[in-house]
Amino acid sequence: MKYALYTGCAAKGACPELYQSTTLITKRLGIEVVEMINAACCGAGVITEADPDLALAINARTFAQAEALGLDIMTICGTCQGVMGMANHRLKTEEGLLDRINALLAPEGIRYGGEVQVKHLLWIIVGEIGVEALQQHVTRPLENLRIAPFYGCYILRPSKYLGFDDPENPVSLEKLISALSAHPVDYEGRTKCCGFPLVLEKEPIAIGMVGANLKEAKEELADAMVTPCPLCHMNLDIYQGRAEDKIGEKLGLPILHLPQLVGLAMGFSPKELGMTRHLVPTDKVVEKIQLKV
């Protein structure tokens, strides 16, 4: 199994621990990756607000790079997955669009043929490797842990462009959590928004969302939350303190990146997985599985 790894900006910027943990678990799972170091930002749904064709062209360039490698793309960010999945779907299906966008790439001699698929690491683990095979790699079952899955918007919606999980009733994170012998927590906020896109300009709204989602998960006795999107991670982790101030309640819920949770069950140390970089300490999780940081 071989993929072109599209890291996205966060894993190379504010969430280096995501990149770190991804490298460890993909190796263990036997996924060979070629990192796309020349690839640009997917636009995160922001560039398209200014100019949709520009956003499509930047993504088409990334797809063309993977096409040249003869590989499909693996994303490790829910937002990248949503934006790139939608761009790819549109380029492949809307009449005349691929030609129009290729015209923008032509001066650099780039051409996208529409042959690449874009898949999130979560989908590759659950859909292709399979949870049974994943279980084979579990050396430290996370039996005591209650984990709240937090999907994030872009890996689920708009579903007509994504089509892996049912947006009304997604199951992939729950399947993964169960495969690691942890207990998935059911709560309403699991498919809602973390508020990250608003956090710079509308902080009160964004931390309101953080507080509401974390509180629900805490009420269901979650020990930690896991997310396949580093932007959700940033908001839920970095702004958790301010959300606590807003709702007047201590939360202290550790937020884990998807590959960190998988990596813990594979026996990697919290330090190797970059868990010491979080703002919300992960000690309680580590204690619960009887480990020392």
């Binding site: 062209a57 918007c153 969302m209």
Partner: protein
């Protein structure tokens, strides 16, 4: 087939809070949730309260929460719902005050729609651009299909925490007037939507797009309003600076610079700078903030990226065909 419906009941004269009650009913193939509710009211429980009128997905009055998602009861068949969720749970729309059982108070919703002035202030006919008029219907991007059912507002993750937000339905309607070639007050409309509660409050979660029974895509309309705002020179809100700064950073470096971005969005608003600095410092100590002015921050393929920006600028400057 015999189906159990778990329906939320609430009678303000007696119940302290809503509760769920099971109702059993034999239903045939193709039965809709609304048909089942009407039968339950006639045959089982006369007190069961819900709104409906047309039964044809055009009046918008039977929007409710079916298995956790906002849907029109008349447009939702029972069998596929059961196959998808393994059960049928029915409740009222979220985010609006509950009156009884499945009925919510729509007044706050109408108030939002009213707030955007849902009528046109027409230009004199001779000033209307006939070319734009020819394409106007397409430019509406399907927002005119809205039946004001409230599903999007009930699903809106921003409205849930901030009731001052105008919400997806009202803003989609506002877009319909901004896109109308006959409208004389486009810039007044755009100006009015820049502040708190306006277009920059949307978090782009796509819930409204997902639940809309008429494919209105309210979030797309909000994005079109944002684009129209930036193009008309309304570039000083933090929301619009978020967009323009993001585009600038990608043109220069190819990848987002998380150290630089907050400074570009916030600019010289010192109060906001002091708001983000303590977090920035804590992130820096954890090795989470790249130094904003890195030497050679650009990705290796930056020349190609800049060329795409250039090609796009040239394409935009060509006269339209």
């Amino acid at each position: 087939m015999r189906v159990t419906f778990h329906i939320q009941k609430y009678n303000p004269e007696g119940d302290s809070k809503p509760h769920e009650e099971p109702y059993r009913l034999d239903v045939g193939r193709g039965t809709t949730v609304l048909e089942a509710l009407v039968r339950l009211k006639n045959e089982v429980d006369g007190t069961l309260t819900f709104r409906y009128a047309c039964r044809s997905a055009i009046c918008g009055s039977c929007a409710m929460e079916i298995n956790g998602t906002e849907k029109l009861a008349c447009k939702t068949q029972i069998r596929p719902e059961l196959e998808r969720h393994g059960e049928i749970r029915i409740g009222p729309l979220d985010n609006l005050p509950l009156i009884k059982d499945l009925v919510v108070e729509m007044a706050p919703f109408w108030e939002k729609v009213r707030s955007i002035q849902p009528w046109i202030e027409p230009l004199p006919p001779e000033q209307v651009d006939p070319i734009r008029m020819r394409d106007a219907y397409k430019a509406f991007n399907n927002v005119e299909a809205c039946i004001l059912c409230g599903a999007c507002v009930a699903a809106c993750t921003v409205y849930e925490v901030e009731k001052g937000f105008a919400g997806p339905a009202a803003l989609a309607k506002a877009y319909r007037f901004v896109a109308d070639p006959r409208e004389s007050i486009v810039s007044e409309r755009l100006n009015q939507m820049q502040g708190d509660g306006g277009i920059w409050d949307c978090t782009r979660c796509n819930y409204c797009v997902e639940v809309c029974p008429k494919d209105v895509k309210p979030m797309e309309a909000i994005i079109l309003l944002r684009r129209a705002s930036i193009q008309s020179g309304l570039t000083q809100t933090m929301g619009s600076r978020h967009v323009t700064s993001f585009v600038d950073i990608i043109r220069h470096e190819g990848r987002l610079n998380e150290g630089l971005m907050p400074m570009m969005v916030i600019g010289f608003r010192f109060k906001d700078l002091f708001r983000i600095l303590p977090l920035g410092l804590r992130m820096f100590l954890k090795g989470k903030v790249p130094f904003p002015f890195k030497f050679r921050a650009a990705i290796p393929g930056i020349k190609q990226v800049r060329s795409i920006f250039e090609a796009r600028r040239n394409a935009k400057n060509e006269p339209p065909r």
